[in-house]
Structure formats: C-alpha cells, structure tokens
Symmetry: C2
Amino acid sequence: MYIVLAPNTGNTMNLLIATLASSRHFNCEIPGANFKSASPISRFPLRTAHQFNSSSSLFSFTHEVAAERARKEQHAMPDNGKLRWGIAGCGRISNDFVAALTTLPSGEHEVAAVAARDRVRSEEFAKRFGIPKVYHSYEALAEDDQIDVIYIGTVNSEHTKLCKQMLHHKKHVLCEKPLTLRLQDTKDLFAFARQNGKFLMEAIWTRTFPAYKQLKSEIEQQTIGDVQLVTANFGCNAPNVPSLAQRNLGGGVLLNVGCYMIQLATLVFPNKMPTSIKAAATLNDDGVDETTAITLQYEDGAIAQFLMSTRVELDSAARIVGSEGTIEIEAPFLAPTQMLTPSGKYHFVLPFIDEKFPTNFINSAGLSYEAAEVRRCILAGELECPWMTHADSILDAEIIEKICKEIKVNYD
Amino acid sequence: MYIVLAPNTGNTMNLLIATLASSRHFNCEIPGANFKSASPISRFPLRTAHQFNSSSSLFSFTHEVAAERARKEQHAMPDNGKLRWGIAGCGRISNDFVAALTTLPSGEHEVAAVAARDRVRSEEFAKRFGIPKVYHSYEALAEDDQIDVIYIGTVNSEHTKLCKQMLHHKKHVLCEKPLTLRLQDTKDLFAFARQNGKFLMEAIWTRTFPAYKQLKSEIEQQTIGDVQLVTANFGCNAPNVPSLAQRNLGGGVLLNVGCYMIQLATLVFPNKMPTSIKAAATLNDDGVDETTAITLQYEDGAIAQFLMSTRVELDSAARIVGSEGTIEIEAPFLAPTQMLTPSGKYHFVLPFIDEKFPTNFINSAGLSYEAAEVRRCILAGELECPWMTHADSILDAEIIEKICKEIKVNYD
C-alpha cells in the first residue's frame, strides 16, 4: 500500500489528504501545510499505522506555533499570495533555480526580474525564461518595489554585499551558500535581516527536501536510537572551475561542498558545537582546498567523518548510524530522492522540469522545494526557515571557520 | 578470453603456464613461482597483451634476487620440502588457518602439533583436523624439533612473548597481527628474529592475496597516476568480544581492525611516514577504542581517510584514487576477491575449503595464500616476506602508536 505525500503541491492532494485524514491510517495535524497541485509527489510504502504516524510528524506543528504563525500572516501576505522573485546573477545555479520555479503553480511564483552585470548573458537569461525585466545593476533590482524576494545566485564573494543591499531595500532574501566567507559576517547579516524585519535564508536546499524532513523526524524520534556516526562523501573532478578554485571568488571545496556535510552533522546533532574538529586538506596554488578530510567529534563521543574533493570523483552518499539502526541517504545525499531507514526504503519523486529548460546540477528540480518553503515562510510572516534556521547557518559557519583555520585556508 | 593464474598451486597449472608462456600473450619470467595444483585459481579478462604484461609483473623478479634466493635455498630447505606447522592457540583464527591449510597440497604442508593451555579445546582442535600431537604448554611446542614453523593465533597480548619463545627455539614464525602492542617491541622482535636467523612475519594475510599483489603492481606502474586519496571502512557490531574490548588482551578497533587500513596506506605510500596524523575515537569503559576515524596526510598532500568500528556495521570497501584513475577493492577489502581498476574488473577465485571444516571469518580460505607464501620464503631462505616486510610492520606499528597517542589509548 502506498500513501502519497505532497507538501505544498495542490488541491487534488488536499482532497486526498483530507480523505486519508479521516481514515484510521492517517492521524496528524497539518496546520501549516499547503497542498496545491498533484506534482511533485512523494511516496513511501506504508506498512503499519504506527510507522505512518511516525512519518506524519513531518507536518505536525504545535498549536502554539500555528497560532503565532496565523498572527504574523495578518501583515506579511504579498498581493494575491503570488511571490514576485528577483534573480541576482544569471549563472548556472540561477538557471536551475528559475527552471525549478516553473514546476510550481504560476499563481504562486512569478519571476519578475533578473539582474546581472553581463548584459548579453542577462538578456539571454530573461529571454530563456520569459522574464519581463532585466537590470544591469544589482542596485536597480534592489530598488524595484514590485519585487518581494531576491534569489542571490552570484559568486560567493558577492553574497554578503548583495544580501545587505537587498535587505536594506526591504526585500526578503534567499541567498546561495555560503552566505558569507566569515563567521562574523554571517552573524552580522542575520542581525541586519532581523533589524529590517525581512526573511533571510542561506540556500541549503538540501534541508527542504522531503528526505531531509523525514530524516529530521526520524532523528528526533530516535528511530535509530542515539546517533553514533555520520559519514558523507562528495567529490567531482572540476579543479579548474573558477568559483571553486579561486580564493577571491570564495572558492574551495569546504566552502562550496563541505557545507552540505556540515549541515548534515548539525541537523543530526542540533545546536551542538563539536568538542573536537580535525581536518586535513590538499590546497591548490591559490591557497584554497581541493580535497578535504574532516572529523568532528561531539560531547558524547559521536563522530562525523566527511571527505570532499573538487579534484577526484567520489560517491556522494551519506550514512547516519545509531545505536538501534542506520539511515542511508543514497547519492546524491545533498539532493536526495532515496533513503533507506530501519522501517524501509523511501522514494521521493522529484518534480518534472520541462525539457525546454535544460539544467546544470543533478536533481536541481528539488530547488522547487526550497522556493515553495520560502513562499510558505514569507506568507506566514516568518523571518527564518524552520528547516534551516539562522542559528543553523551560524553554527555551520562557526564549524567551517574552525576547519578553515585547521587547514590554513583564509578568506581575509 | 581468460588467462588463469595460479601461483603456488599445481603441476597442471605449471603445464598451462608453460604453454601460455610460449604464446605471444604471455611474456614474463616466473623464477620464484611454484605452480602445483589446479586450485585455487584466479581469473581475469585479458584484453591486450600490454595489459597482461602489466599483470605479469606480479611474478617478475630480477635475476639478482633469484640468484640470491637460490644461494639461500642450499641451507634452508626442510626435509622433502614439506613444511611442518605447529599451531599456538586454538581459537577461531587458528581454526580458519588450519582449515585453509587443508586446501594446499599435503606434500607441502603438514600440521604437526597444536598447543594451547585449555586441554579440552586443544584436544578437540587436534581431533577436528587430525593433528597428531597436542601440547598443553607453548614451551613444549617450542621445544619440538620436528616442527619448522609456528603459527601464533593467540590473543594479542601473548604475541610478543610467544614469538620470542619460538624464535629462541629456532622456529620460523608467522604471528597474527598485531605482532606486538608497542612499536619498540615490534622493532626488538624483528631484531631478535634476525639474530636467530629465522623467518618472522606479521600475519597481515591481506598482503598475500592476489588482489593485493595486483594492486601493488598497479601502484608501482602508476596505472592510476599519482595516488591522491586512499579510503577504507570496516565495521562490525561486536562490542563485547573480549579480544576486541579488553585492554589487557590487546583489544581496541585500531589494533585489531585498523591495522588492515594502515597496511593499505603503507602499501600505497611505501616507506613513507605521514606528515600529519589525526584521529578521533570513542573509547569503551576499559579505555580501548570502539569507533575510530583516522586521517593521514603525506608529504605531497595525498590523504588517507579511514573509519573503523567494533560497535556498528560499516561497508568494508577500499578505494585508491589517483590522478589518472581509481582502483576499488570490493568488500571485504581486507580479504578481497574482486577489484575494479582502470583496465577492468578482476575476480580472484578463492580456494575451496571442505564443508567438514567450518570457518569463522569471511574469505578465510585466503589464509592459504599466506601459508603458501610462508613456505615459499622459508624454502628460499628468506627471513622476511617481500609482500609484508619487517620494515612494513615497523612503519605500520609506528603509525598505530602515534594514533594511539592521539586518541589516548595505551597498552602500557
């Protein structure tokens, strides 16, 4: 028997969930969920009512949280609930983000403008996706009062400045990782966002994948007991890509790839700073890391071990081993569709991006999960995403900064 | 097309190799190889003569080495070339070792005696394998002048003392890993063996597997270019096995499992001490490590990353990543039968142990490779095994001692 779960994806689904909710197999509250179209859908085999109840906590929120959210909604709703996106930067990840937006209901998301310094590329980008406005400066994008939220997909070294610029102009912001190149900048940026009363999220899209929501739920419910070990690898052979290789652009495998591993550790060990951080790396001629091996140890002895490279290909699976069982997140663990838990194998079907919008990154249709979540937060008047909070980003940045010190990489 | 390679395994094979040697596909010298029966056999697909020439170096020795060996053979040959084994300790690994010996020609290996303190167990052991003599002290075994070589399979903490006892009585020795619990003891032991003119080998059986001989050949010939990364995992859920858990027995995952990983690193980076050794571990109540994560870094930046546990199950595969390609040693990497290289997939068929001799460890029929190699060395008057030299064991022990210091485990 299959239960079809589709957060933020449609009226049809709403009806299905409502029907299921009345059955004995479905017993959860979904005050914050927003079911609006039949795609994407996520399936998993339902073996027992107990097992399903466990999964249902994905959508369970306390009454207090729901009430607080409803209060905020009074003054945070954009016109008609349609979120108007401005895109800063028109590179590969921006392409995939906008392509992913096409899988969401057009009544909910609109790409209103794109801005980039390169006139030819930005105009091509706008044409590709039918975006009505093109700006050739980020300042002009920031000043457009017909835009609700900015997606920042530029090179890393531009992130901090652009975030501030957009927040200053009262835009909500979803900014690609890493949010900044230094811990203090990350802290300052979140403080600035709060001062301006605007939503800010580091675009760790991973956290908004259904598999990660399920993972978080399983960890919280200790379905694998106490976590003892977390492992993940990720490696690609791309040593000469400027954004990965150049220090002045915020290159380095830790900053660009390692963040996916660090966020896994901080999801599994929430709010915990490792008691020991050890790392070794091979640096390139520009002084940023190409291959990095990391070991984090936590207060109770639990260990996280990661390996990452922009020089060699590696599997990109992750594993969380607990005292009572193991969860395996199949490759690519940073954008997963399959996960093996003690209760069975989960398969989460990605949305489908039309072939007329070619994408660059594996499973990048999953950027739609992140976009949908950003909309949900903004509609609800939330200043941070509960799946990737400000505290999460700050903790990750602190660990990353300590590792950088250990491997002698610095971005000053 | 298949070429069947069978070192130390038979006359039939000898004939086959001789025939092949006259063909254009086979072009190697095999002065030290000893082909004596049709099993075990190791197969691999042969695609080009060049590829086979590469593999053939497994058996190629310089004329100098062969001449030196012939000279030594004059005064080192046991009667009739049959090696008479004495077994010290009758636990699980000794069982598997003697079971593996049954796969070798009875004209080449004979188990002459077994010794253990437990009278019931040792007599059962002797009965199981039809061993003619049972001793209830190791001293008595050492004094038996009808024995050529002792296999030591006792608990770790007994190894050093027993090795010395056997060497003192002019026995050759194959001793289970770890040879000792401390670097200095390892050095002393090899010096003692040399003083006594006897063969001594730390029983890292892994090194004598055909897959590892092939691996060593590929590394030396740089078929994957410069090695940049070595990874391996091994984990089993056996936290309460005394020999793994108790400090006074030489327990701990590093000493008992980690040695397989360290030897992989020192095979790939021969004679090199890492420039940086980092490790984190979870210790048990007795002060030995249950889960250990290790990062070794070498002078040129290459990294070895290992993860091992006696607390949780882990894959036990290994990977060697070079600038030009990757070699994957499939699980179990410490006793492998399958290996993936840039030139194709190798499958090495294990000898077959009769079902009347049940074994304890995976692929333990491969202990016969080690036993056959010990015989070859002793016949040739060699004091150390070229696949696992004294220097190899000392280097491994030095790295292990440094890791022990790092994770605060000591055996003093």
